[in-house]
């Protein structure tokens, strides 16, 4: 699918009601690749219908991604031990045009923004293959802000960061460029999806206006 980060002038609020979103088309991306990539070797359903609605907008300074997906019950781990929270990740090849879909590879790393319902802020992650995801340790990479709400059985999550990389662990979004982008979703719950147990999309295209 083609996702376009539409250019608008002026400030954009971290708010689903911001008028900028009215000017942005919504793209529905299928999450149809089931991964069980871990030493746990757990089994899940082979195929499942899940999708995510994506909007992207920028004002030349900051870029915003608005994600919506169905979730019958919000899982925000806050209480007992084996409850895993709902989560979402967006992944873009970091140094290369294309990287292996499953967390990149050693010389084809990926830059990931990882949102999880219980975290105080999204994480900037760099990975070079399965099992190598590493949250960026530098303070400069703590520049991702978010908005999240769960209502009417739908998660709405907005992620935003400056277009320009603030850290060596971040890619820069260039205007008039196109990036490969993929998404991952974790349906939380007791002993539920986490880490390598997730559902992901194929590579999509993200064009920055």
């Amino acid at each position: 699918m083609e996702i376009t980060a539409v250019y608008v002038t002026g400030p954009i609020a971290l708010d689903p009601e911001d008028p900028a979103w009215d000017k942005v088309p919504e793209t529905t991306v299928n999450l149809n690749k089931r991964l069980n990539e871990s030493g746990a070797r757990m089994s899940f359903e082979a195929h499942e219908e899940r999708h995510i609605k994506v909007k992207a907008v920028h004002n030349g300074i900051d870029i915003f991604f608005f994600y919506k997906w169905d979730e019958n019950e919000a899982k925000i781990a806050a209480g007992d031990y084996p409850v895993f929270p709902d989560a979402l990740a967006m992944q873009i090849p970091f140094l290369t045009v294309e990287s292996p879909l499953c967390m990149g590879a050693l010389h084809e790393p990926v830059n990931i923004i990882f949102w999880r319902s219980d975290l105080p802020m999204p994480e900037n992650i760099v990975a070079g293959g399965p099992g190598t995801a590493q949250t960026s340790p530098d303070a400069a990479a703590l520049n991702i802000r978010h908005y999240q709400t769960w209502a009417d059985r739908v998660w709405s999550v907005i992620l935003t960061r400056p277009l320009a990389a603030a850290s060596e662990n971040q890619l820069s979004f260039e205007r008039r460029a196109t990036y490969r982008i993929a998404f991952a979703n974790w349906k939380g719950g007791v002993d539920a999806e986490r880490g390598g147990h997730k559902i992901v999309s194929e590579w999509q295209n993200l064009s920055i206006q």
């Binding site: 030493g39 746990a40 031990y81 084996p82 099992g131 190598t132």
Partner: protein, 345 residues
């Protein structure tokens, strides 16, 4: 990666009096300051036979001994670990006035719910019928296994076994809190910190080991239960007890992890017959000990029971030797006079 040497511990269960000093030493040293560690007892002492900590861990299996790893349950705090509790000492022991309404010592606050449990909830309950009832104490730390299932279960290599001494640690910056290690460990000696969102476990007091001091549970033990040393050091008391005298067994070797904490099984007083006569049968049945302890995964229950008998025979004959004025290396080992007698690190 093979380790250069392997640290080991032998706990002599004949000397464990269930005082929990090791547990408190460990708790005070490592898990009473940071958030999310209240339920963690890197060292705990449980009554056997009993449900253990967390509840029924012995029956849940681990990475190498279940057919379906999905089936391994994850313990939760409210029902498997349980909340801390006390007895209603104040109500019972305060003697103002004539109030006798609370004369019975009961847990307070009383945990409720069908799955009620807490650490040492079944303390001293044991098994058997009076006058032949029995129980014993089993102190447990991470076994720092030769083939650690927690290491195998982690998809991120966050759990690792140190090359220099075989101590198993969790890299707190690599861990992303997936709990696979908690499932993997059949002894449930790896805990999840729900506040810091990472797995944490017994570190065998490695900062102390690096300074050639014993781990804290061992040095604080008033019963001098523990022996600590390296498997390869033939002069160490752990080597002599495990390899030379062969009086120490592994806890649940059938879990196939090759634990490096060994136990000398406990003697017990004789049973009484139905007519009140003292018999020659020990109160703790051999099959109870055999279900817990053995040498290798392949041993049958009978073979394990035979090994327990053999150990009792060995210790008894050495005791007899000393009682009749002779010397015994084994008895010398089992009566350590100083810390250096039992800890060689």
């Amino acid at each position: 990666m093979p380790v250069k040497r392997q640290i080991r511990m032998v706990a002599d269960l004949n000397k464990c009096l269930g005082c929990h000093t090791c547990t408190m030493a460990c708790k005070t040293m490592w898990t009473d300051r940071n958030r999310g560690q209240m339920h963690m007892y890197w060292n705990n002492v449980e009554t056997q036979p009993g449900m253990g900590y967390p509840k029924n861990y012995e029956t849940q299996g681990g990475w190498f001994n279940v057919a379906d790893r999905n089936s391994i349950p994850l313990p939760n705090i409210s029902e498997a670990y349980g909340s801390p509790w006390e007895y209603n000492y104040y109500e019972v022991l305060q003697t103002d006035g004539d109030d006798t309404s609370a004369s019975e010592l009961v847990p307070s606050p009383e945990p409720s719910g069908s799955g009620v449990y807490s650490s040492n909830w079944d303390e001293d309950v044991g098994a058997g019928i009076f006058p032949n009832s029995y129980y014993f104490y089993l102190p447990r730390i991470c076994n720092h296994c030769t083939d650690p299932p927690c290491v195998d279960a982690c998809p991120r290599q966050a759990v690792y076994k140190r090359e220099e001494d075989g101590i198993v640690l969790v890299d707190q910056t690599r861990c992303r809190g997936y709990h696979h290690c908690v499932k993997g460990c059949p002894y449930k000696k790896i805990y999840y910190n729900p506040e810091e969102k990472v797995a944490q476990k017994c570190i065998f007091c490695y900062p102390r080991i690096e300074e050639h001091k014993g781990n804290f549970c061992a040095t604080q033990c008033v019963g001098r239960v523990h022996h600590v040393g390296y498997a390869e050091d033939t002069s160490s008391s752990v080597y002599k007890l495990i390899n030379k005298w062969k009086v120490a067994l592994r806890l649940h070797p059938e879990f196939k992890t090759e634990p490096n904490v060994f136990y000398i099984p406990p003697f017990s007083p004789p049973t009484y017959s139905s007519t009140g006569k003292v018999t020659s049968t020990p109160r703790i049945p051999f099959e109870v000990l055999a279900r817990l302890f053995g040498d290798t995964p392949g041993q049958s229950l009978n073979q394990r029971a035979d090994r327990v008998k053999e150990i009792f025979d060995t210790i008894q004959s050495e005791r007899n030797k000393v009682a009749s004025g002779g010397n015994s290396e084994l008895i010398e080992l089992l009566i350590p006079h100083s810390e250096t007698d039992r800890i060689q690190v």
